[in-house]
Protein backbone atom coordinates (compact mmCIF):
# COMPACT_ATOMS: atom_id res chain seq x y z
CA UNK A 1 0.00 0.00 0.00
CA UNK A 2 1.10 3.53 -0.71
CA UNK A 3 2.51 5.80 1.94
CA UNK A 4 -0.42 7.09 4.06
CA UNK A 5 -1.40 10.75 3.77
CA UNK A 6 -2.91 10.77 7.23
CA UNK A 7 -1.89 8.52 10.05
CA UNK A 8 -3.43 8.42 13.51
CA UNK A 9 -1.60 6.37 16.08
CA UNK A 10 -2.95 5.44 19.49
CA UNK A 11 -5.12 8.52 19.98
CA UNK A 12 -6.80 8.88 23.35
CA UNK A 13 -9.19 11.54 24.51
CA UNK A 14 -11.31 11.50 27.64
CA UNK A 15 -13.90 13.91 28.96
CA UNK A 16 -13.83 13.18 32.68
CA UNK A 17 -14.61 9.50 33.07
CA UNK A 18 -15.91 9.19 29.53
CA UNK A 19 -13.40 7.79 27.05
CA UNK A 20 -14.49 9.44 23.84
CA UNK A 21 -11.49 8.18 21.90
CA UNK A 22 -9.91 4.94 23.05
CA UNK A 23 -6.61 3.94 21.45
CA UNK A 24 -7.62 4.79 17.90
CA UNK A 25 -5.14 4.15 15.07
CA UNK A 26 -6.02 4.45 11.40
CA UNK A 27 -4.59 5.56 8.09
CA UNK A 28 -5.78 7.25 4.94
CA UNK A 29 -3.91 6.38 1.75
CA UNK A 30 -3.97 8.16 -1.62
CA UNK A 31 -6.91 7.38 -3.89
CA UNK A 32 -9.22 5.92 -1.29
CA UNK A 33 -12.38 6.78 0.56
CA UNK A 34 -12.06 5.62 4.12
CA UNK A 35 -15.42 5.69 5.87
CA UNK A 36 -15.76 6.08 9.60
CA UNK A 37 -19.04 4.74 10.91
CA UNK A 38 -20.55 4.00 14.28
CA UNK A 39 -23.72 4.53 16.27
CA UNK A 40 -24.55 7.91 17.82
CA UNK A 41 -22.16 8.76 20.60
CA UNK A 42 -19.45 6.48 19.23
CA UNK A 43 -16.98 9.37 19.24
CA UNK A 44 -16.79 10.07 15.50
CA UNK A 45 -17.19 13.80 15.89
CA UNK A 46 -14.66 13.93 18.73
CA UNK A 47 -12.20 12.03 16.57
CA UNK A 48 -12.76 14.37 13.63
CA UNK A 49 -12.27 17.35 15.95
CA UNK A 50 -8.86 15.97 16.95
CA UNK A 51 -7.85 15.47 13.33
CA UNK A 52 -8.94 18.97 12.33
CA UNK A 53 -7.24 20.47 15.40
CA UNK A 54 -10.18 21.71 17.43
CA UNK A 55 -9.37 19.32 20.29
CA UNK A 56 -5.95 18.17 21.40
CA UNK A 57 -5.72 14.43 22.11
CA UNK A 58 -4.66 13.37 25.62
CA UNK A 59 -2.08 11.06 24.06
CA UNK A 60 -1.11 9.62 20.73
CA UNK A 61 -0.06 11.37 17.56
CA UNK A 62 -1.39 12.55 14.22
CA UNK A 63 0.93 12.54 11.24
CA UNK A 64 0.09 14.29 8.00
CA UNK A 65 2.31 13.58 4.99
CA UNK A 66 4.93 12.32 7.41
CA UNK A 67 4.86 15.46 9.53
CA UNK A 68 3.68 15.40 13.14
CA UNK A 69 0.74 17.84 13.32
CA UNK A 70 -0.60 16.85 16.75
CA UNK A 71 0.16 20.27 18.24
CA UNK A 72 -0.77 22.50 15.29
CA UNK A 73 -3.78 24.84 15.27
CA UNK A 74 -6.85 24.41 13.07
CA UNK A 75 -5.69 27.18 10.73
CA UNK A 76 -2.14 25.77 10.46
CA UNK A 77 -3.48 22.33 9.56
CA UNK A 78 -5.81 23.84 6.98
CA UNK A 79 -2.89 25.66 5.39
CA UNK A 80 -0.95 22.38 5.17
CA UNK A 81 -3.77 20.91 3.09
CA UNK A 82 -6.32 19.39 5.43
CA UNK A 83 -9.67 20.36 3.91
CA UNK A 84 -12.72 19.77 6.02
CA UNK A 85 -16.46 20.15 5.75
CA UNK A 86 -18.66 20.50 8.77
CA UNK A 87 -21.41 18.18 9.97
CA UNK A 88 -23.75 21.13 10.41
CA UNK A 89 -23.19 23.59 7.58
CA UNK A 90 -20.79 26.18 8.88
CA UNK A 91 -20.46 28.97 6.38
CA UNK A 92 -20.12 32.75 6.46
CA UNK A 93 -23.84 33.62 6.60
CA UNK A 94 -23.75 37.16 5.18
CA UNK A 95 -21.33 36.25 2.39
CA UNK A 96 -22.67 35.06 -0.93
CA UNK A 97 -21.86 31.56 -2.10
CA UNK A 98 -19.16 33.05 -4.32
CA UNK A 99 -17.54 35.02 -1.50
CA UNK A 100 -17.53 31.96 0.74
CA UNK A 101 -15.49 30.16 -1.89
CA UNK A 102 -13.35 33.25 -2.51
CA UNK A 103 -12.45 33.37 1.18
CA UNK A 104 -11.07 29.83 1.00
CA UNK A 105 -9.18 30.70 -2.20
CA UNK A 106 -7.66 33.83 -0.71
CA UNK A 107 -6.55 31.91 2.37
CA UNK A 108 -4.78 29.42 0.14
CA UNK A 109 -3.12 32.11 -1.99
CA UNK A 110 -1.74 34.40 0.67
CA UNK A 111 -1.70 35.45 4.29
CA UNK A 112 -4.68 37.64 5.25
CA UNK A 113 -2.59 40.75 5.97
CA UNK A 114 -3.25 42.50 2.67
CA UNK A 115 -4.91 45.82 3.19
CA UNK A 116 -4.98 47.63 -0.13
CA UNK A 117 -6.33 45.68 -3.11
CA UNK A 118 -10.11 45.31 -3.11
CA UNK A 119 -11.15 41.68 -3.00
CA UNK A 120 -14.56 41.85 -4.69
CA UNK A 121 -13.32 42.07 -8.27
CA UNK A 122 -10.03 40.26 -7.83
CA UNK A 123 -9.90 38.07 -10.96
CA UNK A 124 -7.54 35.58 -9.34
CA UNK A 125 -10.38 34.83 -6.90
CA UNK A 126 -13.62 35.36 -8.83
CA UNK A 127 -12.53 33.20 -11.79
CA UNK A 128 -11.64 30.04 -9.86
CA UNK A 129 -14.60 30.59 -7.51
CA UNK A 130 -17.07 30.52 -10.40
CA UNK A 131 -15.33 27.44 -11.78
CA UNK A 132 -15.67 25.57 -8.49
CA UNK A 133 -19.29 26.59 -8.01
CA UNK A 134 -20.03 25.27 -11.50
CA UNK A 135 -18.34 22.01 -10.59
CA UNK A 136 -20.74 21.42 -7.69
CA UNK A 137 -23.71 22.83 -9.61
CA UNK A 138 -24.19 26.07 -7.67
CA UNK A 139 -23.24 28.55 -10.40
CA UNK A 140 -26.81 29.85 -10.62
CA UNK A 141 -26.82 30.69 -6.90
CA UNK A 142 -23.41 32.37 -6.72
CA UNK A 143 -24.64 35.77 -5.53
CA UNK A 144 -27.07 34.48 -2.91
CA UNK A 145 -25.98 34.95 0.74
CA UNK A 146 -25.23 31.52 2.16
CA UNK A 147 -27.81 32.05 4.92
CA UNK A 148 -30.50 32.19 2.25
CA UNK A 149 -29.47 28.98 0.46
CA UNK A 150 -31.50 25.81 0.91
CA UNK A 151 -30.17 23.05 3.14
CA UNK A 152 -29.03 20.95 0.20
CA UNK A 153 -27.34 23.92 -1.44
CA UNK A 154 -25.47 24.69 1.76
CA UNK A 155 -24.20 21.09 1.86
CA UNK A 156 -22.89 21.57 -1.67
CA UNK A 157 -21.32 24.89 -0.77
CA UNK A 158 -19.52 23.14 2.11
CA UNK A 159 -17.99 20.82 -0.49
CA UNK A 160 -17.19 23.75 -2.78
CA UNK A 161 -15.30 25.50 0.02
CA UNK A 162 -13.35 22.31 0.74
CA UNK A 163 -12.55 22.03 -2.98
CA UNK A 164 -11.31 25.60 -3.07
CA UNK A 165 -8.64 24.71 -0.53
CA UNK A 166 -7.30 22.19 -3.06
CA UNK A 167 -6.44 20.01 -0.09
CA UNK A 168 -4.14 17.03 0.17
CA UNK A 169 -6.96 15.14 1.84
CA UNK A 170 -10.62 15.77 2.63
CA UNK A 171 -12.29 15.33 5.99
CA UNK A 172 -15.99 15.21 5.26
CA UNK A 173 -18.27 15.10 8.27
CA UNK A 174 -21.66 13.74 7.19
CA UNK A 175 -21.79 15.52 3.83
CA UNK A 176 -25.14 13.84 3.04
CA UNK A 177 -26.88 14.79 6.30
CA UNK A 178 -30.44 15.86 5.60
CA UNK A 179 -30.18 15.49 1.82
CA UNK A 180 -32.89 13.88 -0.31
CA UNK A 181 -32.23 10.63 -2.24
CA UNK A 182 -31.63 12.53 -5.45
CA UNK A 183 -29.08 14.80 -3.78
CA UNK A 184 -27.34 11.81 -2.21
CA UNK A 185 -27.12 10.11 -5.63
CA UNK A 186 -25.46 13.14 -7.20
CA UNK A 187 -23.08 13.52 -4.29
CA UNK A 188 -22.06 9.83 -4.38
CA UNK A 189 -21.08 10.17 -8.05
CA UNK A 190 -19.26 13.39 -7.24
CA UNK A 191 -17.28 11.95 -4.31
CA UNK A 192 -16.29 8.88 -6.34
CA UNK A 193 -14.59 11.20 -8.81
CA UNK A 194 -13.22 13.43 -6.07
CA UNK A 195 -11.18 10.69 -4.36
CA UNK A 196 -8.88 10.58 -7.38
CA UNK A 197 -7.97 14.20 -6.63
CA UNK A 198 -7.39 13.63 -2.92
CA UNK A 199 -8.30 10.82 -0.52
CA UNK A 200 -11.37 11.28 1.67
CA UNK A 201 -11.94 10.44 5.30
CA UNK A 202 -15.71 10.23 5.43
CA UNK A 203 -18.02 10.20 8.42
CA UNK A 204 -21.47 9.30 7.23
CA UNK A 205 -24.74 7.96 8.60
CA UNK A 206 -26.25 6.95 5.28
CA UNK A 207 -25.19 3.28 5.22
CA UNK A 208 -26.27 2.78 1.66
CA UNK A 209 -24.04 5.64 0.50
CA UNK A 210 -21.15 4.35 2.63
CA UNK A 211 -21.33 0.89 1.11
CA UNK A 212 -21.43 2.36 -2.39
CA UNK A 213 -18.52 4.70 -1.80
CA UNK A 214 -16.05 3.34 0.70
CA UNK A 215 -12.89 1.45 -0.14
CA UNK A 216 -12.31 0.79 3.53
CA UNK A 217 -14.59 1.09 6.54
CA UNK A 218 -13.65 1.55 10.18
CA UNK A 219 -16.32 0.98 12.81
CA UNK A 220 -16.17 2.94 16.03
CA UNK A 221 -18.16 1.97 19.12
CA UNK A 222 -17.74 3.72 22.47
CA UNK A 223 -14.60 5.40 21.17
CA UNK A 224 -12.92 2.11 20.19
CA UNK A 225 -12.33 0.59 16.80
CA UNK A 226 -14.17 -2.74 16.79
CA UNK A 227 -13.53 -3.55 13.14
CA UNK A 228 -11.74 -2.22 10.12
CA UNK A 229 -11.60 -3.58 6.58
CA UNK A 230 -13.24 -3.76 3.18
CA UNK A 231 -16.96 -3.27 2.65
CA UNK A 232 -17.50 -7.05 2.53
CA UNK A 233 -15.43 -7.65 5.68
CA UNK A 234 -17.58 -5.18 7.56
CA UNK A 235 -20.87 -6.45 6.18
CA UNK A 236 -19.99 -9.95 7.38
CA UNK A 237 -18.36 -9.09 10.69
CA UNK A 238 -20.59 -10.59 13.38
CA UNK A 239 -19.50 -8.13 16.04
CA UNK A 240 -20.31 -5.16 13.80
CA UNK A 241 -23.71 -6.57 12.98
CA UNK A 242 -24.49 -7.06 16.63
CA UNK A 243 -23.14 -3.73 17.83
CA UNK A 244 -24.28 -1.45 15.15
CA UNK A 245 -25.83 -2.52 11.91
CA UNK A 246 -28.54 -4.71 13.37
CA UNK A 247 -31.01 -5.82 10.74
CA UNK A 248 -30.06 -3.12 8.31
CA UNK A 249 -27.64 -5.35 6.40
CA UNK A 250 -30.13 -8.17 5.96
CA UNK A 251 -32.75 -6.11 4.24
Amino acid sequence: MAEPVLELSHLNKAFGALKATDDVSLTLVPGEIHALIGPNGAGKTTLMAQISGKYAPDSGSIRFRGQDITRLSVAQRARLGLGRSFQISSLIPEYSARRNVMLALQARQSHPYRFLMPVRHDRSLTGPATEILTRVGLEGRASVPSAELSHGERRLLEIAVALALNPVCFLLDEPMAGMGTEGVGTLVTFLKALKEQAPILLVEHDMDAVFRLADRITVLVYGRIIASGSVDDIRNDPEVRRAYLGDEVDT
Binding site: S73, F86, E94, L103, Q106, L116, V119
Partner: protein, 326 residues
Amino acid sequence: MREMRREHMLNVLLAVALFAVPLWAYFASEPFVITLATRVAILAMAGVGLNLALGLGGMVSFGHAVFFGLGGYCAGVLAHHAFSGTPVLMGLPGTNQMLVIWLVAMLTSGLLALVIGALSLRTSGIFFIMITLAFAQMFFYFALSWPAYGGEDGLPIFVRNQFPGLNTMRPWELFVVAYGLLMLVLALFAVIRASRFGAALMAIRQNPDRAAAVGISPFGVKLVAFVISGMITGMAGAMMADLTRFVSPAMMAWQMSGELIVIIILGGTGRLFGPVAGAAILVGFEVIFGGMTEHWKFWLGLVLLAVVLFARGGFVGLLAGRDRHG
Protein backbone atom coordinates in the same frame (compact mmCIF):
# COMPACT_ATOMS: atom_id res chain seq x y z
CA MET B 1 -27.01 46.86 -6.05
CA ARG B 2 -29.67 49.49 -5.54
CA GLU B 3 -29.06 49.40 -1.83
CA MET B 4 -25.37 49.94 -2.43
CA ARG B 5 -26.08 53.02 -4.47
CA ARG B 6 -28.45 54.30 -1.83
CA GLU B 7 -25.77 53.95 0.82
CA HIS B 8 -23.28 55.81 -1.40
CA MET B 9 -25.74 58.65 -1.80
CA LEU B 10 -26.42 58.79 1.90
CA ASN B 11 -22.69 58.85 2.62
CA VAL B 12 -22.12 61.73 0.23
CA LEU B 13 -25.05 63.56 1.78
CA LEU B 14 -23.63 63.11 5.28
CA ALA B 15 -20.17 64.21 4.20
CA VAL B 16 -21.54 67.31 2.48
CA ALA B 17 -23.84 68.19 5.38
CA LEU B 18 -21.03 67.91 7.92
CA PHE B 19 -19.06 70.41 5.84
CA ALA B 20 -21.92 72.69 4.81
CA VAL B 21 -23.32 73.37 8.27
CA PRO B 22 -20.12 74.80 9.77
CA LEU B 23 -19.43 76.60 6.48
CA TRP B 24 -22.76 78.36 6.87
CA ALA B 25 -21.92 79.05 10.51
CA TYR B 26 -18.61 80.55 9.43
CA PHE B 27 -20.34 83.09 7.21
CA ALA B 28 -23.10 83.66 9.74
CA SER B 29 -20.47 84.17 12.49
CA GLU B 30 -21.73 81.34 14.70
CA PRO B 31 -18.46 79.92 16.08
CA PHE B 32 -20.36 77.72 18.54
CA VAL B 33 -21.89 75.74 15.66
CA ILE B 34 -18.45 75.30 14.10
CA THR B 35 -17.14 73.93 17.38
CA LEU B 36 -20.09 71.52 17.55
CA ALA B 37 -19.36 70.28 14.03
CA THR B 38 -15.71 69.82 14.98
CA ARG B 39 -16.83 67.78 17.98
CA VAL B 40 -18.97 65.62 15.70
CA ALA B 41 -16.04 65.08 13.33
CA ILE B 42 -13.68 64.10 16.14
CA LEU B 43 -16.16 61.79 17.89
CA ALA B 44 -16.94 60.23 14.51
CA MET B 45 -13.22 59.63 13.99
CA ALA B 46 -12.95 57.89 17.35
CA GLY B 47 -16.06 55.94 16.33
CA VAL B 48 -14.48 54.85 13.03
CA GLY B 49 -11.66 53.39 15.09
CA LEU B 50 -14.06 51.43 17.26
CA ASN B 51 -16.14 50.49 14.23
CA LEU B 52 -13.16 48.65 12.80
CA ALA B 53 -12.93 46.44 15.89
CA LEU B 54 -16.61 46.24 16.80
CA GLY B 55 -18.37 46.63 13.48
CA LEU B 56 -16.09 44.62 11.22
CA GLY B 57 -14.41 42.33 13.73
CA GLY B 58 -17.22 41.83 16.25
CA MET B 59 -14.92 42.78 19.14
CA VAL B 60 -17.16 44.62 21.58
CA SER B 61 -14.50 46.69 23.31
CA PHE B 62 -15.88 48.45 26.35
CA GLY B 63 -12.52 50.09 26.94
CA HIS B 64 -11.82 52.13 23.84
CA ALA B 65 -11.85 55.31 25.91
CA VAL B 66 -8.40 54.29 27.12
CA PHE B 67 -7.03 54.94 23.61
CA PHE B 68 -9.07 58.12 23.29
CA GLY B 69 -7.70 59.35 26.62
CA LEU B 70 -4.16 58.23 25.92
CA GLY B 71 -4.20 60.17 22.65
CA GLY B 72 -5.54 63.14 24.57
CA TYR B 73 -2.77 62.91 27.14
CA CYS B 74 -0.18 62.67 24.36
CA ALA B 75 -1.39 66.02 23.06
CA GLY B 76 -1.64 67.51 26.54
CA VAL B 77 1.68 66.28 27.88
CA LEU B 78 3.70 67.14 24.76
CA ALA B 79 2.13 70.61 24.62
CA HIS B 80 2.75 71.10 28.35
CA HIS B 81 6.45 70.39 27.95
CA ALA B 82 6.73 72.48 24.79
CA PHE B 83 5.15 75.36 26.71
CA SER B 84 7.39 75.04 29.74
CA GLY B 85 10.50 74.13 27.72
CA THR B 86 11.17 71.04 29.84
CA PRO B 87 12.00 67.60 28.43
CA VAL B 88 9.27 64.90 28.43
CA LEU B 89 11.61 62.06 29.30
CA MET B 90 15.22 61.15 28.67
CA GLY B 91 15.91 64.59 27.25
CA LEU B 92 13.23 64.37 24.56
CA PRO B 93 11.58 67.75 24.10
CA GLY B 94 7.84 68.42 23.96
CA THR B 95 6.19 69.68 20.83
CA ASN B 96 3.26 71.79 19.76
CA GLN B 97 3.09 70.40 16.22
CA MET B 98 -0.11 68.48 15.61
CA LEU B 99 1.45 66.21 12.99
CA VAL B 100 4.12 65.03 15.45
CA ILE B 101 1.56 64.71 18.22
CA TRP B 102 -0.74 62.57 16.08
CA LEU B 103 2.15 60.28 15.24
CA VAL B 104 3.05 59.89 18.91
CA ALA B 105 -0.62 59.38 19.82
CA MET B 106 -1.01 56.67 17.19
CA LEU B 107 2.20 54.90 18.20
CA THR B 108 1.45 54.85 21.92
CA SER B 109 -2.20 53.89 21.41
CA GLY B 110 -1.20 51.19 18.95
CA LEU B 111 1.33 49.80 21.38
CA LEU B 112 -1.19 49.78 24.22
CA ALA B 113 -3.78 48.14 21.94
CA LEU B 114 -1.23 45.46 21.10
CA VAL B 115 -0.76 44.65 24.79
CA ILE B 116 -4.46 44.85 25.71
CA GLY B 117 -5.46 42.95 22.59
CA ALA B 118 -2.89 40.19 23.05
CA LEU B 119 -4.16 39.60 26.57
CA SER B 120 -7.90 39.99 26.04
CA LEU B 121 -8.50 38.54 22.57
CA ARG B 122 -8.03 35.06 23.96
CA THR B 123 -11.50 35.55 25.40
CA SER B 124 -14.71 36.51 23.68
CA GLY B 125 -18.24 37.64 24.44
CA ILE B 126 -18.92 39.01 27.90
CA PHE B 127 -15.39 38.19 29.12
CA PHE B 128 -13.85 40.30 26.39
CA ILE B 129 -16.15 43.18 27.27
CA MET B 130 -15.17 42.94 30.94
CA ILE B 131 -11.43 42.62 30.35
CA THR B 132 -11.30 45.64 28.04
CA LEU B 133 -13.31 47.58 30.61
CA ALA B 134 -10.94 46.51 33.37
CA PHE B 135 -7.88 47.67 31.41
CA ALA B 136 -9.46 51.02 30.69
CA GLN B 137 -10.40 51.50 34.34
CA MET B 138 -6.83 50.70 35.38
CA PHE B 139 -5.53 53.53 33.24
CA PHE B 140 -8.36 55.80 34.33
CA TYR B 141 -7.38 55.44 37.99
CA PHE B 142 -3.73 55.77 37.13
CA ALA B 143 -4.37 59.09 35.37
CA LEU B 144 -6.54 60.15 38.29
CA SER B 145 -3.83 59.55 40.84
CA TRP B 146 -0.77 60.73 38.94
CA PRO B 147 -0.13 64.30 40.09
CA ALA B 148 2.55 65.23 37.53
CA TYR B 149 -0.04 66.00 34.87
CA GLY B 150 -2.86 67.40 36.93
CA GLY B 151 -4.30 64.19 38.35
CA GLU B 152 -8.00 64.47 38.72
CA ASP B 153 -7.97 68.19 37.86
CA GLY B 154 -6.74 67.41 34.37
CA LEU B 155 -4.26 69.28 32.25
CA PRO B 156 -5.04 72.46 30.31
CA ILE B 157 -3.58 73.21 26.89
CA PHE B 158 -3.05 76.97 26.94
CA VAL B 159 -2.44 77.43 23.23
CA ARG B 160 -3.75 74.94 20.70
CA ASN B 161 -1.12 72.85 18.95
CA GLN B 162 -0.22 74.00 15.49
CA PHE B 163 -0.91 72.71 12.04
CA PRO B 164 1.37 73.94 9.22
CA GLY B 165 -0.19 76.83 7.33
CA LEU B 166 -3.27 77.16 9.51
CA ASN B 167 -4.23 79.06 12.61
CA THR B 168 -5.83 76.38 14.76
CA MET B 169 -7.07 78.94 17.29
CA ARG B 170 -9.68 79.94 14.70
CA PRO B 171 -12.65 77.53 14.96
CA TRP B 172 -13.12 77.22 11.20
CA GLU B 173 -9.51 76.32 10.54
CA LEU B 174 -9.48 73.75 13.31
CA PHE B 175 -12.66 72.29 11.85
CA VAL B 176 -11.02 71.93 8.45
CA VAL B 177 -8.18 69.96 10.05
CA ALA B 178 -10.59 67.67 11.90
CA TYR B 179 -12.79 67.20 8.85
CA GLY B 180 -9.87 66.42 6.57
CA LEU B 181 -8.53 63.89 9.06
CA LEU B 182 -11.98 62.29 9.39
CA MET B 183 -12.24 61.88 5.61
CA LEU B 184 -8.78 60.33 5.53
CA VAL B 185 -9.70 57.88 8.28
CA LEU B 186 -12.98 57.01 6.52
CA ALA B 187 -11.07 56.32 3.31
CA LEU B 188 -8.73 54.06 5.25
CA PHE B 189 -11.70 52.20 6.76
CA ALA B 190 -13.28 51.74 3.31
CA VAL B 191 -10.05 50.40 1.82
CA ILE B 192 -9.47 47.98 4.70
CA ARG B 193 -13.07 46.80 4.58
CA ALA B 194 -12.84 45.99 0.87
CA SER B 195 -9.44 44.27 1.13
CA ARG B 196 -8.49 40.67 1.76
CA PHE B 197 -7.84 41.59 5.36
CA GLY B 198 -11.33 43.04 5.64
CA ALA B 199 -12.84 39.94 4.07
CA ALA B 200 -11.01 37.77 6.59
CA LEU B 201 -11.95 40.02 9.53
CA MET B 202 -15.66 40.10 8.68
CA ALA B 203 -15.64 36.35 8.11
CA ILE B 204 -14.11 35.82 11.55
CA ARG B 205 -16.84 37.94 13.12
CA GLN B 206 -19.51 35.77 11.55
CA ASN B 207 -17.92 32.35 11.95
CA PRO B 208 -14.44 32.00 13.47
CA ASP B 209 -14.50 28.20 13.14
CA ARG B 210 -15.05 28.41 9.42
CA ALA B 211 -12.31 31.01 9.02
CA ALA B 212 -9.87 28.75 10.86
CA ALA B 213 -10.94 25.74 8.79
CA VAL B 214 -9.94 27.52 5.59
CA GLY B 215 -6.61 28.48 7.16
CA ILE B 216 -7.14 31.98 8.55
CA SER B 217 -6.01 32.32 12.19
CA PRO B 218 -8.70 34.38 13.95
CA PHE B 219 -6.39 35.59 16.71
CA GLY B 220 -3.79 37.28 14.51
CA VAL B 221 -6.30 39.01 12.26
CA LYS B 222 -8.33 40.28 15.21
CA LEU B 223 -5.22 41.52 16.99
CA VAL B 224 -4.04 43.52 13.98
CA ALA B 225 -7.52 45.01 13.56
CA PHE B 226 -7.63 45.89 17.26
CA VAL B 227 -4.27 47.69 17.01
CA ILE B 228 -5.34 49.74 13.96
CA SER B 229 -8.60 50.47 15.75
CA GLY B 230 -6.79 51.71 18.86
CA MET B 231 -4.48 53.90 16.77
CA ILE B 232 -7.37 55.68 15.04
CA THR B 233 -9.23 56.26 18.29
CA GLY B 234 -6.01 57.50 19.90
CA MET B 235 -5.47 60.04 17.15
CA ALA B 236 -9.04 61.24 17.57
CA GLY B 237 -8.32 61.67 21.28
CA ALA B 238 -5.37 63.95 20.49
CA MET B 239 -7.65 66.05 18.30
CA MET B 240 -10.29 66.23 21.01
CA ALA B 241 -7.73 67.50 23.52
CA ASP B 242 -6.87 70.29 21.11
CA LEU B 243 -10.52 71.15 20.54
CA THR B 244 -11.35 71.46 24.24
CA ARG B 245 -7.82 72.61 25.11
CA PHE B 246 -8.07 70.35 28.12
CA VAL B 247 -7.29 66.74 29.00
CA SER B 248 -8.64 64.95 32.03
CA PRO B 249 -9.04 61.37 33.23
CA ALA B 250 -12.73 61.64 32.24
CA MET B 251 -11.63 61.01 28.66
CA MET B 252 -10.66 57.51 29.78
CA ALA B 253 -13.73 56.84 31.91
CA TRP B 254 -16.07 53.99 31.09
CA GLN B 255 -18.79 56.49 30.22
CA MET B 256 -16.66 57.58 27.29
CA SER B 257 -16.26 53.96 26.14
CA GLY B 258 -20.02 53.61 26.38
CA GLU B 259 -20.54 56.79 24.40
CA LEU B 260 -18.37 55.43 21.59
CA ILE B 261 -20.40 52.21 21.48
CA VAL B 262 -23.63 54.24 21.47
CA ILE B 263 -22.32 56.23 18.50
CA ILE B 264 -21.66 53.03 16.56
CA ILE B 265 -25.03 51.48 17.36
CA LEU B 266 -27.02 54.64 16.63
CA GLY B 267 -25.25 55.18 13.32
CA GLY B 268 -25.09 51.61 12.09
CA THR B 269 -22.63 48.92 13.18
CA GLY B 270 -19.99 48.17 10.55
CA ARG B 271 -21.28 50.83 8.14
CA LEU B 272 -18.75 53.25 6.69
CA PHE B 273 -20.60 56.43 7.69
CA GLY B 274 -22.28 54.88 10.72
CA PRO B 275 -20.01 56.69 13.21
CA VAL B 276 -20.55 60.02 11.43
CA ALA B 277 -24.34 59.66 11.66
CA GLY B 278 -24.07 58.36 15.22
CA ALA B 279 -21.83 61.19 16.42
CA ALA B 280 -24.10 63.76 14.78
CA ILE B 281 -27.17 62.27 16.46
CA LEU B 282 -25.45 62.16 19.85
CA VAL B 283 -24.15 65.74 19.72
CA GLY B 284 -27.45 66.96 18.24
CA PHE B 285 -29.38 65.33 21.06
CA GLU B 286 -27.07 66.83 23.65
CA VAL B 287 -27.52 70.32 22.20
CA ILE B 288 -31.25 70.22 21.55
CA PHE B 289 -32.52 68.24 24.53
CA GLY B 290 -29.63 69.13 26.83
CA GLY B 291 -30.93 72.72 26.65
CA MET B 292 -34.40 71.67 27.76
CA THR B 293 -33.70 69.13 30.45
CA GLU B 294 -30.70 67.87 32.33
CA HIS B 295 -32.12 64.38 31.90
CA TRP B 296 -31.51 64.34 28.16
CA LYS B 297 -29.60 61.07 28.43
CA PHE B 298 -32.83 59.39 29.48
CA TRP B 299 -34.35 60.29 26.12
CA LEU B 300 -31.19 59.24 24.34
CA GLY B 301 -31.55 55.91 26.11
CA LEU B 302 -35.06 55.53 24.75
CA VAL B 303 -33.86 56.22 21.22
CA LEU B 304 -31.05 53.71 21.67
CA LEU B 305 -33.56 51.14 22.89
CA ALA B 306 -35.74 51.76 19.85
CA VAL B 307 -32.74 51.36 17.53
CA VAL B 308 -31.68 48.09 19.14
CA LEU B 309 -35.23 46.71 19.08
CA PHE B 310 -36.56 47.97 15.76
CA ALA B 311 -33.71 49.24 13.61
CA ARG B 312 -30.69 47.01 14.13
CA GLY B 313 -28.87 48.63 11.23
CA GLY B 314 -28.96 52.02 12.97
CA PHE B 315 -29.46 55.27 11.09
CA VAL B 316 -27.59 54.15 7.97
CA GLY B 317 -29.39 50.81 7.95
CA LEU B 318 -32.74 52.54 8.27
CA LEU B 319 -32.16 54.75 5.25
CA ALA B 320 -29.92 52.60 3.06
CA GLY B 321 -31.15 49.10 3.82
CA ARG B 322 -29.27 46.04 4.90
CA ASP B 323 -25.54 45.68 4.53
CA ARG B 324 -24.68 43.30 1.72
CA HIS B 325 -21.38 41.72 0.75
CA GLY B 326 -22.05 40.48 -2.82
